[in-house]
């Protein structure tokens, strides 16, 4: 049976698979959803907040979205303790670069460095891979706004819009249909994020307490990473629901209008 081949990460299975890496990705599939959308003038990260216990002390504004550097933030999905180790390492990598070169690390370079570390845990050392996938949003002078995704295998790629965690496949397919390349601005991206979250999360109505939203924009040669407050999220949800209602009404009109004119 395949069981014999998956206890050590350093071993391939007879079919050429790395089971530990795949199991790590399984673990992430059960974690809270995170999605990222690249807009023309900024980037949006949205995350499902799973720890909504009233007794929790609110020391941190957000428990899935972390600021890495002046120009980069990331959102994690998976085992929280693994995520903490990786976000710490990301921050250290960024600062080491700034110490050496006196300027912020280019986004892709930061992602690449962490992914090399993640990959090492799939090849040697006899340790298990990190059970975390990360979505990075950042800005640099080389490529402007960028969105990256990395997974336990140590692979990374740049995205216009993507999703990780629970129901990520469903979210990605909705994004594929709804996202308009180079025609989306930040506000539209925020609404799109809410739309996708409402369709993929297992709640019937969007709740501002269960969502974390963050944006990254450039203003006056400075990057602003902003975790949106609960009140503002409530406003956005209201706007989203309004738009949904309008869209529904328009659809109804079209359906009834194609038959004969309805009389109310």
């Amino acid at each position: 049976m395949a069981r014999r081949y998956d206890s050590k990460t350093t071993i391939f299975s007879p079919e050429g698979r790395l089971y530990q890496v795949e199991y790590a990705m399984e673990a992430i599939g059960h974690a809270g959803t995170c999605l990222g959308i690249l807009a023309n003038d900024g980037i949006v990260l949205a995350a499902e907040r799973r720890n909504t216990n009233k007794l929790l002390d609110d020391v941190f504004l957000s428990d899935k979205i972390y600021k890495i550097d002046e120009d980069m933030a990331c959102c994690v999905a998976g085992i929280t303790s693994d995520a903490n180790v990786l976000t710490n390492e990301l921050r250290a990598i960024a600062q080491r670069h700034t110490l050496q070169f006196g300027e912020p690390i280019p986004c892709e370079q930061l992602v690449m460095r962490l992914c090399d570390i993640k990959q090492a845990y799939t090849q040697y050392g006899g340790k298990r891979p990190f059970g975390v996938s990360i979505l990075y949003m950042g800005w640099d002078t080389r490529h402007g706004y960028q969105l990256y995704q990395s997974d336990p295998s140590g692979n990374y790629s740049g995205w216009k819009a993507t999703c990780i965690g629970n129901s990520s496949a469903a979210a990605v397919s909705i994004l594929k249909q709804e996202y308009k390349v180079s025609e989306t601005d930040l506000h539209q991206a925020l609404l799109l994020a809410l739309k996708v979250m409402s369709k993929t999360l297992d709640m019937t109505k969007l709740n501002a307490e269960k969502l974390e939203l963050a944006t990254l924009v450039r203003n006056d040669n400075k990057t602003e990473i902003n975790v949106i407050s609960v009140e503002e999220v409530k406003e956005l949800i209201k706007e989203h629901e309004q738009k949904e209602a309008e869209a529904e009404a328009a659809k109804q009109d079209k359906q009834s209008g194609s038959g004969k004119s309805s009389d109310k």
Binding site: F101, G102, E103
Partner: protein, 228 residues
């Protein structure tokens, strides 16, 4: 912890002054081509100035071996960046910062690279000129020089700037060659063959094998008592 080991703390073949200035439209760097072996003018075609990337050039005075070593490390670094493709081209500011860290760390280990470097180029569309030395002292300025250049050339440049704040390319070149000429007259370890680098937003141009011997006038030597 002290194993009784020590590293050489003196230069063997060394280069003399480097002079650099920022002008209206770019940055210029000049250094002569002499590698002195103490008071012997041993190697008369040493290239102490080199292009790092399209945005940065570096010139060093001090130990030539240490210069050649750091030049090779930097050239490999640039190659790695180009091959990797995930980072942007090293600019003058980043090179200056990196060099400062390296030189300071070496001195803290009592194993210095015996150099005084001038980094010239562009950082984020702004002209950049910086100095780093063997003990890790680093600063940026509009005119920078090493060795004797600090005492002869920098005051000359500052005087010219007082008359005219923004120098044109030709004025800068004339001023720089004048500085090198004065240094050749007064610095025993200087030579008349030199290199000049001009860094503009378009890129780095290095002029090699320049010679200022014809512009020198040694008639004044006759008036020095004891010359004959």
């Amino acid at each position: 912890m002290n194993t009784g080991k020590s590293h050489t703390m003196y230069p063997s073949t060394s280069g003399t002054s480097v002079v650099g200035l920022v002008y209206d439209g770019g940055v210029m760097l000049a250094a002569d081509s002499l590698g002195s072996y103490g008071s012997l003018a041993r190697f008369r075609d040493v290239k102490r100035l080199f292009k790092v990337t399209d945005k940065a050039a570096l010139a060093c005075s001090g130990d030539i071996a240490d210069y050649q070593f750091i030049r090779e490390v930097i050239e490999q670094k640039v190659r790695d960046d180009v091959c990797g493709g995930y980072t942007r081209e090293l600019n003058a500011g980043a090179l200056h910062c990196w060099l400062t860290r390296v030189l300071y760390n070496r001195r803290s280990r009592f194993d210095p690279l015996w150099l005084e470097c001038v980094v010239a180029g562009y950082k984020d569309d702004e002209p950049f000129l910086g100095y780093v030395d063997k003990i890790g002292t680093a600063f940026e300025a509009k005119e920078v020089a090493t060795g004797f250049g600090l005492h002869f050339a920098v005051p000359m440049i500052r005087e010219a700037r007082e008359k005219k704040q923004n120098l044109s390319c030709d004025e800068a070149r004339k001023l720089l060659t004048e500085c090198l000429k004065v240094l050749y007259y007064r610095d025993c370890r200087a030579h008349f063959k030199y290199q000049l680098a001009d860094i503009t937003p378009e890129g780095v141009t290095i002029h090699d094998d320049l010679n200022l011997k014809k512009e020198t006038n040694w008639e004044v030597a006759n008036y020095i008592s004891g010359y004959e």
